[in-house]
Amino acid sequence: MTERALTTAQPGAVVVMLAPALVRLFPEAERRVEVAASTVGEMIQALDGRWPGMHDRLCDSSPEIRRHINVFVAGERATLETRLAPGAEVWVLTAISGG
């Protein structure tokens, strides 16, 4: 699959592109997924409903998006509270880290 998320989302859904390293942790997961959500927090809960445990990989118990996970909405880094318009494109990426 290419790095393009562009295909029309179902009405009311947002399009989420997941980082390859995240997809590898969940054997049934796909890189491009559509979910119904009005905030990033709802989107992550919806992903967790589809692939149980994904919430813990993306968020800590603060609760916040993990420090080295970047969620981009409309080109801007998002928080759990960031609102999502229908059809929004969301990128979940691994930030620079490691050693």
Partner: protein, 360 residues
């Protein structure tokens, strides 16, 4: 079924498994597993052969990995492996210990969890962090980590844990209440009149003597110790050793008087084997006398260290002994430490070594 010996490695970049037969001469290496996450402790449950790995990485946080097919496939879970909202989140899982039908996990920042469904869901053993000393717990160089979990094979309600650098704690009621068990262990980094506190010791590794639940050994930042009363009191056993510093300790599988240590040259001296010469030190009399075991180990320009969970024995007779270095080499002895060979090298930093014998 032919006997297989597995050596389970946690490393800074994934889990690895070495496999041999009972002779333990030729070894095959598999890995890296667990998506190259830093794995702090990889163990096997002898009851069913399930392999578990405790780890966590900077992107995805803590989890316990699991394989029910000797490492061929893995899953992971951290369901419930979390403190309450507002507390400092868990960074990584650090230690594992299986009991009858139960699995314990120690984490950073220090706390204890248990799973009653083979590592799928976790419950916080909150009594430990409710101990009144907890606000004063300070991290050691490796963080505020719960790195040793010792279970009493004769009494499931008794557990000892070791935290760097809070010390040893014991519960006799399954984790509801805990008491410090550090009397007699030094804290050389404290002012002279405060070197034997109730808590705050930098214990590096805690192990139990086989068949003697009241006999514990510990390698501490400040000395080596034995307790014959379940940790209520500790006696120094460092006389005869080349330093008072080191990380791992490994008990013999059958002899409660035999212990293996790997002293390093000192906490601010590089933490190398002394004089660049590698030796495992063995006692056969519970710490009264020590013998350096060097045959086959590097004896020149060896600037290597061994971390706190990176030495283990197997249960064969004679017992195998294994240690992994911070520079990614694994050394093994199939004769209780008399002679050694390097059975793997060029691995990532080895953080833990454990064994499993299958088929006997």
């Amino acid at each position: 079924m032919a006997t297989k010996v597995l050596v389970l490695l946690g490393t800074k970049k994934g889990a690895f498994i070495l496999e041999s037969d009972a002779r333990r001469r030729a070894w095959d290496l598999r890995g890296p597993f667990c998506e190259t996450w830093p794995m702090n402790h990889v163990i096997a449950d002898p009851a069913d052969g399930t392999i578990y790995g405790a780890g966590g990485n900077e992107w995805f946080g803590p989890a316990v990995w699991k394989s029910t097919d000797l490492g061929a496939t893995w899953t992971h879970s951290s369901q419930g492996l979390a403190y309450a909202e507002g507390e400092q989140p868990i960074k990584s899982a650090w230690s594992l210990a299986p009991a009858a039908g139960r699995l314990y996990a120690g984490v950073e920042p220090a706390g204890l969890f248990r799973s009653d469904d083979a590592g799928q869901a976790w419950q916080h053993v909150a009594g430990l962090r409710n101990h009144p000393s907890r606000p004063g717990w300070q991290p050691g160089g490796g963080g505020l980590i719960l790195h040793s979990i010792v279970l009493n094979p004769k009494d499931a309600s008794q557990v000892w844990v070791a935290i760097s650098s809070a010390g040893v704690f014991h519960t006799a009621d399954g984790g509801e209440t805990w008491e410090p068990r550090n009397r007699g262990t030094r804290a050389d980094y404290m002012p002279e009149d405060q070197r034997y506190p109730e808590v705050g010791q930098c214990v590096h590794c805690l192990v139990m003597a086989p068949g003697m639940p009241d006999r514990l050994y510990q390698q501490n930042h400040c000395g080596m110790y034995r307790s014959d009363d379940g940790g209520r009191s500790w006696q120094s056993i460092e006389a005869g050793l080349p330093s008072t510093f080191g990380f791992p300790a490994a008990a013999h599988p059958r002899d409660p008087a035999t212990l293996y240590l790997l002293p390093l040259n000192g906490d601010i001296a590089g933490r190398f084997v002394p004089d660049g010469k590698t030796a495992v030190w063995r006692t056969r009399d519970a710490g009264a006398r020590w013998q350096a075991l060097r045959e086959g180990l590097p004896q020149k320009n060896a600037f290597l260290g061994v971390l706190r969970q990176a030495m283990a024995t197997d249960r064969l007779d004679p017992a195998g002994v294994y240690f992994g270095t911070s520079s990614g080499a694994l050394f093994a002895s199939a004769d209780e430490g008399e002679s050694w060979s390097c059975i793997a090298q060029h691995l990532p930093t080895i953080t833990s070594v454990e064994t499993m014998v299958v088929g006997t």
